[in-house]
């Protein structure tokens, strides 16, 4: 097998073509090759959620997928999701409720929360906590994050 392969994919709406080492995972590719440093690396074995990105509409762990596996895919990172405006209600609610401290888990939390609200318009607190159970936050104790998501759900519930 070759050490590097050519891939073409769409990242945050833009076409990207690169030759990448086959062993490079997706989050390292996004950070190192494309300079999209909003996705973070926390554990490199899929347990912490810091590297959460969206691939072909699904929320995935950027550390559990090789970059070459994203060949032909549509990838969205926190930068793209933020600039598109689709996270604005969640971002505003997180800000007002102080639902972040160091911010390292926050991109993953936002993308995970947005996916939850897309599939369930008005989740209760327990459902929200379950949905976040793959995202580690050491700073907040989670309550403010749950509050912020609940606020957005109550405001937008049923309209999504």
């Amino acid at each position: 097998m070759e050490d590097a392969l050519d891939i073409e994919l769409t990242v945050n709406g833009a076409r990207v073509a690169r030759r990448v080492p086959v062993r490079r995972n997706l989050v390292d590719f996004l950070r190192q090759d494309l300079g999209l440093t909003g996705s973070h690396v926390g554990c490199e074995h899929g347990a912490c959620g810091a590297c959460t990105v969206v691939v072909d509409g699904a929320v995935v762990r950027g550390c559990l997928m090789f970059a070459v596996q994203a060949d032909g895919a549509m990838v969205e990172t926190i930068e793209g999701a933020s600039e598109s405006g689709r996270l604005k209600p969640l971002q505003d609610a997180f800000h007002a409720r102080a639902a972040l401290q160091c911010g390292f888990c926050t991109p993953g939390m936002l993308l995970t929360a947005a996916a939850l609200l897309a599939r369930e318009a008005a989740p209760d607190r327990e459902t929200i906590r379950e949905a976040l159970s793959g995202n580690f936050c050491r700073c907040t104790g989670y309550q403010a994050i749950v509050d912020a998501i609940e606020t957005v759900a109550n405001k937008d519930g049923g309209n999504d």
Binding site: P21, R23, R24, R31, G35, L36, T37, G38, S39, H40, V41, G42, C43, E44, H45, A47, C48, A50, T77, I78, E79, S82, L87, Q91, F94, H95, A96, A98, L100, Q101, C102, G103, F104, C105, T106, P107, L110, R125, I128, R129, E130, L132, S133, G134, N135, F136, C137, R138, C139, T140, G141, Y142, Q143, A144, I145, V146
Partner: protein, 786 residues
Amino acid sequence: MTDGSGLGAPVGIDTPSPRSPRLLAGRGRYTDDVAAARVAHAAYLRSPYAHARIVSIETSEARKAPGVVLVATGADIARHCRSWCGTHDLFPALVAAAQPALAVDRACWHGEPVVAVVAETRAEAEDAVELIVVEWEELPAVTDAETALSGPAIHEDLGGNIGFETTVEAGDVEKAFAAAHLIVEERFRFGRHTGVSLEPRTILADYNPAEDSLLVHQSHQTPHQQQDLFSRLLGIPEHKVRVVCPDVGGAFGLKHHLHGDEIAVCALSRMLGRPVKFVADRLESFLTDIHCRDHEITARMALTAEGDITAMAVEDLFLIGPYSQYPRSSVAEGNQIARLCGAPYRHKDYRAHLLMLYQNKNLIGHIRSVGHPLAAAVTDGLLDRAAGKLGRDPVELRRRNYLADDDFPLTSPGGIEFEKLSFHACLDRILEMMDRPALLAEQARLREEGVYRGIGLATFVELTAIGPEYYGGGGQHISAQEGCLVRLEPSGMVRCMTGVTDQGQGIDAGIQQVVASVLGVPTEDVRVESGDSEMSPYGGGSWGSRGAVLGGETALRAARTLRGNVLELAAALLQCDASALDLRDRNIIDAQSGQARMTLGELAATGHFKPYSFPKDLQPALAVVEHYASRDRLFLAGNGIQASYLEVDPETGFVDLLGHWVVHDAGRLLNPLLVKEQVRGGVVQGIGGVLFEECLYSPEGQMQNGTFADYLVPMAAEMPDIEVDHIETPTATSELGTKGAGEAGTAGAMGAVLNAINDALMPFDARIYETPCTPDRILRALGKIA
């Protein structure tokens, strides 16, 4: 606020952190995000043994590997970086061995860095590490207290494994115990855990040989401390060392220490003359990030028949790894336990004996709430035990024994000065919040149905905002003085640079509020920058619940000096007395009528661009620097209480957290929103320590659980909602009146949960005093498994 005290709104108002918008947009800038041309990447070969002699190191294959630019052993690094020794002059009996950045000749813990490889990519560096062959001769490992006391000395020249021993004593303990109606005694075991910041330790060092300068970006809490360490240990003039701490992805104390694999990166950059980066991976984090706890505490409490606590005696065996951490030393956790057991209660006779021992495990240092949670858990654990034996209500027993408002100020039997603590007010408030009668009724009803719920309380005392006498007197180069620069820009906008740092606590917001309040501008007009040893006024960074107390007070002083300058300049222009003017809503106003005379921007622009408008002897000084250090106090004591309501499943040993309450007294609150979130986060970190988190070592000293799959941390689904409220007893030692807040959540959570578990186990006459309270330990306490 118009009286010039500068303490009105926005001080005291809920204000989100000014850092949040960029972090929410994915535009934070953490150390690993910082770009550097020609950067190379370091990876380490680490000791697979707890204790072993290095017979030989063969690196020739690694040097030839693709992308490799440098392979450096401990001896190579030692030629560029001095070793250090974690002593403390206030504890002259503390003996410690010199610690090198990388192991030289001998490794003393599993994970100690041994050989560094630098390559063009991290992956290539890791590949080359695999090609290094080290011949090891395994040595006997000291892993528990018994072996530490009876076995061979880890460091021969220390003559044994006792690093420090002390006795804190007040009154006549023997007499008090002899006269006691009731003595309760328990043995507590607090497992070692660690900080687990989500962003791992990260450093980017860029040495410039052309000017012998070093620029370091580091995920760290204390840029000036690092500047001093890098300068002294690497031999680079201090004014040519610049340490920048950009956004930091969680710190919790683990990032205010010196780690060998970090300073070695500076040496590697110097050897190569190009930037070198190191990011600890998660396994490296678990193996080598500073650990905490690891105490075995046997404690006794003496009481009268009426339920008055008369004495406490505490024996603490504290195991700290093979070295005393640098630069603070490892003594504080043991010392603070020895001084804080029994602190909330009125008693005169006290003795605590601390034995600090070396062992072949990772180093123990200072992580969020140093010793406080253990002192609280031990004290209130014994109190609950006594209440059970006396058939008394544990709340009533607390109330009976608490130091009362008119007992203050006092020096505790542990030798700590308490200015004014609010035990009774905190207890009254938490009982209201939790509706204890309803919980007791529910608990009793459910016990009939075979459901076992428990209610636990833990009163805590915390030592915050350490004064300069502690580390200054200890011989450490750790600033307890803070500096703050406030600068008025020509437009009337304000820049502020502070020596305290923000790793998510939100101290930037607190300082913004103080400055905005004094200068009469909205908070968004004030930009706070920190974390740069070259640009910020010298200061200590953020640790030990000091940011608001010291950084806030310094900002108040700097803003007030600037305010004085502004009013003096405006008075000259407006031909009136400065005392007739005030600042409000971006305007210089007439203090009497409130009428705007000119805008702050007009005054600022005049000062910067048309200084000839002022009398010749009046020089516009629109940037000021002020400093502040507390005097004549080692600590600023704060207090609070926490309560936990939970259910224990006696069949599985699982604990389900149902409710958690906190009442905390941090003096004046600058920003209640952010303080409460600090407390909540701290509670959950404390819950991690009492229920889940433990660095597990084999008897041979191998760490067994260095992944997130094996080392459990609190996740959203298991955590309860936490109700937080505050009592405000301002300290008179500063004008702001704030006390520390960042560690309070952690300080009481462990004791509250432990006591609640024991309350739930009461019907079984079972007790547990070992943390974390894992299901298997609970089942063992219940006698269900061996």
